[in-house]
């Protein structure tokens, strides 16, 4: 199956961009016929993206000078994927332990929530040592009878 949608955005990893980017992602996903009538999945994808971007913005660049974050969104092979890439300190979120729900703290839920709300959360260290985080949502067969027509 070909690629039905591809969008790429590059910004400085500033926290003030969290809301505009988050709203963009939400509205984009809502426009996709596969998800347009599925409010819960739209909420899930929005939350996962929000947590991923907020983490990069707050923790990836320790020096105070915010580096870039590249966001790619694409639909391919029955999957919606949001790929976030940064050049900050190496950090593999998939290795973070599950939160202690008996004594929940004020932080530490974000990565766990990403795992709950997406079908797959994949971390890769890129060729230049960059962090690559892939948020993947599979599209059920019955929702695949459409094409966005972008490439």
């Amino acid at each position: 199956m070909g690629q039905e949608l591809y969008i790429k955005i590059e910004v400085k990893a500033e926290i003030f961009l969290l809301r505009p980017l988050d709203i963009f992602v939400r509205n984009l996903v809502k426009q996709l016929p596969a998800f347009s009538s599925d409010q819960d999945t739209v909420d899930s994808i929005e939350l996962a993206f929000n947590e991923a971007y907020a983490n990069i913005s707050r923790h990836a660049y320790k020096s105070g000078v915010k580096g870039p974050v590249q966001i790619e969104i694409f639909v391919k092979d029955r999957m919606l994927e949001i790929r976030l890439e940064d050049n900050g300190e190496n950090f593999n979120p998939t290795e973070v332990k599950e939160p202690d729900f008996q004594n929940l703290g004020e932080s530490g839920l974000g990565i766990w929530l990403m795992k709950q709300f997406m079908d797959d959360l994949v971390y890769e260290s890129g060729e230049r040592g960059q962090n690559v985080l892939r948020l993947i949502k599979r599209i059920p067969d019955e929702k695949m009878s459409w094409s966005v027509g972008c490439s």
């Binding site: 926290i15 809301r19 988050d22 819960d40 939350l47 947590e51 929940l104 932080s107 974000g110 929530l113």
Partner: protein
């Protein structure tokens, strides 16, 4: 965010989003409020359509701060998205949650 006092109970009404942008402000607001002992606080989520882990963290911090100073916190009118998040994170067992603002305010009399 808006603050008002109703029947001796402080009510903070959060905006459309309770996320990483606003969570530090909510924490700070409750910290100042808790300097007065036995603060009764309702956080009204009626307008809030989206809450994230930072928003949840701010609510946990608010409850802890208030309990330390013999106060208490109730949550009112969470959206379906907030309810899903509270259940998934087991926070529905930590917070007293009401579907109605009046019920949340009156619950302090019991």
């Amino acid at each position: 965010m808006e603050i008002e006092k109703l029947e001796g109970v402080t009510v903070i009404s959060t905006d459309e989003r309770l996320d990483a942008m606003i969570a530090p402000k909510l924490k700070e607001m409750v910290k100042k409020m808790s300097e007065e002992a036995s603060t009764k606080l309702v956080i009204d989520l009626g307008k809030t359509k989206f809450i994230d882990s930072s928003g949840c963290g701010a609510l946990v911090a608010a409850l802890r701060t208030l309990l330390k100073n013999h106060g208490d916190l109730k949550i009112a009118r969470p959206s379906p998205q907030a309810k899903t998040l509270f259940q998934l994170t087991r926070l529905h067992r930590v917070f007293e949650i009401h579907d109605n603002l009046d019920d949340a305010i009156k619950s302090f009399d019991k």
